[in-house]
């Protein structure tokens, strides 16, 4: 112990940091902020440090070359002792970091911490969020597999829609005309040098401001923030009822960080690393690319936007969202901090959470994508075929052979792109079915050129049997009158 004390004394004589460190550690913080609600910022920093450490470890093996990256990931997963574990730590660390940064942001928003005088802390935090997301996206690219390759294609397609400079932006982003060697190299530079450097600088400023301006006090309903009086009130609060940051508040940060690290390690150990999926060969087209978890909501948005709204929403939407976040402390820089008196803030969070989780859920299930092999691998349930005429069974064959099943489900099996057809005969009459099959419409392709009259007749014959036993299928009353009772009888055949 005496040796350590001596070494420290020797160092501090030269560094002269002792008093500054002691002052920082013991600075008084409001008593209520020594709370489990205030641990997410430090946990995010812990994740960031873990990402730097595991990132450097991965860089010992990883080859940032389009021709070799995928192979080097295979070596990391299978050839190097515990390489899979370091990859898993980095992958899960990334997911935890995004999640904790988001939770931190929600907590700061609900506790009104962005108000005077912490506006700039919030704004720097917004940039930290954007950089964290940039790290998540570029990291997904460095896992240079099929998802990364086609994800880049999506990124390039979005960039190309910028007016005037779109094509240049694509060439700049890809480093050339196609997704190839220079593309991966530049994403490596962004992921490993550019954004981490900016992150370190911005985290430092963020932390410095937390120390200089003090931790946001626990919001009390009725305690109003005013520019004229806040600093004085905060000073009084910390002096009269403050506690030293170390050890009163910091022990919770330390415990939570350990818990987070342990959780990341546990996830890494049990679930293993993410991918890589198939090799990034653009001639392998039997692939269904999807982004990482935190971009699934965006993937869902992209499939629901109508074509006319897509480009404006894609280009203007993010700009508006970022502007709203940056301007928030200027619009609401004073006033109530407590969430109990800010119903719109609470509603905003709830609405955003519901929206993002619904879109993520949809992104996991991709109901908008045809099930590409439904026609050959998912048979029509046998109860839909029993007791049917030869023509209707022939129609069921057409239903499979022409891949209707890829987009339409029967008995909850098959694609969800179009409506389920279990009760289609209740909704559409024979004429309407024929029209829909031949002309398409309502987001369905027209099959008129693709079906012979015999096939159409058979298919519609099969579709007309798709109704519950007790309920008669839809029929055109006028047609019955014109053609007589025969037509009515023929359209009532069914189970």
């Amino acid at each position: 112990m005496r040796v350590i004390a001596k070494v420290w004394e020797w160092l501090d004589q030269r560094l002269q940091l002792g008093p500054a460190i002691r002052e920082t550690a013991e600075h008084p913080v409001p008593r209520e902020t020594a709370s489990w609600f205030y641990v997410f910022g430090s946990a995010a920093l812990t994740c960031f440090i873990l990402q730097i450490a595991t990132g450097i470890l991965l860089a010992l093996i990883y080859v940032p070359s389009a021709g070799e990256a995928w192979n080097s990931l295979q070596i990391l997963n299978h050839g190097i002792t515990l390489g899979w574990f370091v990859r898993a730590l980095h992958g899960w660390g990334s997911n935890f970091m995004v999640a904790i940064v988001l939770i931190h942001m929600v907590q700061v928003f609900l506790f009104g911490a962005y108000k005077f005088p912490r506006e700039l802390t919030w704004m720097v935090g917004v940039f930290l969020l954007l950089m964290t997301l940039a790290m998540a996206f570029t990291g997904q690219v460095l896992r240079f597999d099929q998802d990364a390759y086609w994800g880049l294609g999506i990124g390039a397609s979005i960039a190309s829609r910028v007016p005037v400079i779109g094509p240049w932006a694509v060439n700049l982003m890809l480093g050339g005309p196609i997704i190839a060697g220079p593309t991966l190299s530049r994403f490596f530079a962004v992921h490993v040098f550019l954004v981490p450097g900016l992150l370190i600088a911005f985290v430092s400023v963020h932390l410095l401001m937390v120390l200089k301006l003090g931790i946001n006090e626990w919001p009390m309903p009725g305690r109003i923030v005013r520019r004229a009086t806040y600093l004085q009130e905060y000073h009084k609060l910390t002096q009269q009822d403050g506690v030293a940051f170390v050890p009163y508040a910091v022990w919770k940060d330390i415990f939570f960080s350990a818990f987070i690290l342990l959780s990341i390690a546990a996830c890494a150990f049990y679930f293993g690393p993410f991918g890589p999926s198939g090799q990034p060969d653009p001639t392998i087209i039997q692939t269904s690319p999807h982004p990482d978890f935190f971009f699934l909501w965006l993937y869902a948005v992209l499939s629901f936007l109508p074509p006319s709204a897509e480009t404006p929403v894609l280009l203007i939407g993010p700009a508006i969202a970022i502007a709203v976040l940056l301007l928030l402390p200027f619009v609401a820089g004073e006033g109530e901090k407590s969430w109990r008196r800010r119903p719109i803030a609470v509603l905003t969070i709830l609405l955003t959470a519901v929206m993002l989780s619904s879109l993520t859920q949809l992104g996991l299930h991709t109901p908008w994508s045809p099930v590409m092999d439904a026609w050959s691998s998912l048979p029509i349930p046998s109860e839909y075929l029993q007791g049917r005429t030869a023509l209707e069974r022939r129609g069921a064959l057409v239903f499979q052979a022409k891949q209707c099943h890829n987009c339409h489900s029967l008995d909850d099996v098959g694609g969800k792109r179009g409506p389920a057809l279990d009760r289609v005969a209740l909704r559409l009459t024979q004429d309407q079915l024929i029209r829909q099959v031949i002309q398409g419409g309502g987001n369905m392709p027209a099959y008129g050129k693709n079906l012979s009259p015999a096939e159409t007749t058979a298919l519609v014959g099969f579709l007309e049997t798709l109704h519950p036993p007790g309920q008669p299928p839809a029929s055109n009353a006028a047609r019955d009158v014109v053609l007589g009772a025969d037509a009515a009888g023929s359209s009532a055949t069914g189970p």
Binding site: A66, W150, G153, V170, L172, P177, I178, P282, S303, K449
Partner: protein, 186 residues
């Protein structure tokens, strides 16, 4: 004898002026340095504007593309780096309309660039990402794509099919708007 005070007011203003001059000098050097750096960064754009990335490439003999059918073809991108690996191999769909006329579609969906697959059973191209679908002539059938599939210019020379390619087509790029998939009657 007392030493003259070392900082007179004229001295300070001269030092201050020197600092300003020094900063100005650094600014000028910075601008001079920025020119080559910006040109270095913008080299992919400059290449596209001056030389272009496209050239005529062979997809192989016509016998590979039977009449009335649509087949997958691959080519090596003309602008390559030694470390591109398999990413420089690009796929496209070749449709032999009637033995005389061809259509060569880009593999990239006109929506956001995912690889479309051809289904001869239903005569549709389907995209696995967001559910875009196209008819056999490349025109949009359903889903989010704002237009039909991108097509390459083609020519037939000495029994071989050539296409003009070299750049990934995207919705906003001039290559794409030039090569719009027209709705043909074939």
């Amino acid at each position: 004898m007392t030493e003259p005070t070392r900082t007179t007011s004229t001295d300070v203003s001269r030092r201050a002026a020197l600092v300003k001059l020094g900063l100005l000098l650094n600014g000028i050097v910075g601008v001079i340095l920025a020119i080559p750096i910006v040109r270095y960064i913008l080299s992919p754009v400059a290449h596209a504007r001056k030389i272009g990335y496209e050239s005529w490439l062979s997809l192989g003999g016509l016998e590979k593309f039977p009449e009335g059918q649509t087949r997958l073809a691959t080519y090596r991108n003309p602008v390559v780096n030694p470390w591109d690996g398999e990413t420089a191999d690009i796929a496209c769909w070749v449709r032999n309309v009637d033995g005389q006329n061809f259509q060569v579609f880009a593999i990239n969906c006109a929506h956001l660039g995912c690889p479309v697959r051809w289904f001869p059973q239903s005569n549709l191209f389907m995209c696995p990402c967001h559910g875009g679908a196209y008819y056999q002539d490349g025109s949009r059938a359903s889903g989010p794509p704002p237009r039909g599939l991108f097509t390459y210019h083609y020519k037939i020379d000495d029994g071989k099919l050539f296409i003009k390619a070299g750049e990934m087509p995207t919705t906003g790029s001039p290559v794409a708007s030039r090569n719009s998939a027209r709705s043909t009657c074939a």
